[in-house]
């Protein structure tokens, strides 16, 4: 497989994907927040919960942005190597907690941030060795 170069334009689109993904998760969280206390013991209650969530406009906004991410991501992957694209996109592991603090007023402790840092490092390590996996799948 030939090497694909990362240009500034592609980098911009990769970071845009990060932001759209963060937006997606914010929308999903908003749609699930309608019912504050959900205690589900039976399957039928789960269906009622899902019915409530699926009637929320935030959910559909979220699904729309998932489609945007899907189209952006799959067209980007034909231009950039996966081992380059994944580390740039794992930027969302920082963006999502930040967005949770700003928009959802969640509290993120220093302990949790250190966990996020470990995950980020792990994702970068996993994707740096991605080229071998790509070859095997093809």
């Amino acid at each position: 497989m030939f090497k694909k170069k990362l240009t500034l334009k592609l980098l911009f689109f990769l970071i845009l994907t990060d932001f759209i993904e963060t937006f997606t998760h914010l929308c999903f969280k908003k749609s699930a927040l309608i019912e504050n206390e959900v205690i589900i013991t039976r399957f039928s209650e789960l269906l009622v919960f899902l019915q409530n969530v699926f009637s929320s406009p935030f959910l559909w906004l979220g699904i729309l942005s998932v489609l945007c991410t899907f189209i952006l991501w799959s067209s980007l992957l034909s231009k950039v190597d996966l081992s380059v694209a994944v580390p740039v996109c794992s930027f969302s592991y920082i963006l999502v907690p930040l967005a949770s603090i700003i928009f959802l007023h969640e509290k993120v402790s220093l302990f949790r941030w250190s966990g996020v840092l470990f995950i980020l490092l792990g994702v970068v390590f996993v994707s740096l060795s991605a080229s071998g996996k790509e070859r095997a799948l093809e």
């Binding site: 034909s78 966990g115 470990f118 490092l121 996993v126």
Partner: protein, 126 residues
Amino acid sequence: MKEELVFILFLIALTSICDTINQLFLKSAINSLASPRGNVKAVFKFIMQLILVPRVWVSFLFSIISLCIWLFVLSQVDLSFAFSADSMHYIFIAIVSRFILKERVCFKRWLGIILIVVGIMLVSLS
């Protein structure tokens, strides 16, 4: 509290497994087509062709299941926690690649997976 956390982590693992299956089917469907060259029009044509592959629908089904479980998880815990814990799909994908697809998983990747596990533990403990 402790039991609840274990249950939520179990559900997040379940969504991650659904995601993994989804990715596997999608990848094999994409591999069965010639990859698009060049412009946006070619990419759209590619997506249209992709929709006709049955394996893509299996993949969609699993992503819907995953979405339903995910929404329930989000109604129970903080987004910052759930999103971080969802990174465990990297672990499942590595395991699936190693034992089902018989791919070689190199040292660097195992190191990355250990880092992710440590990270998830730190995030869960807080």
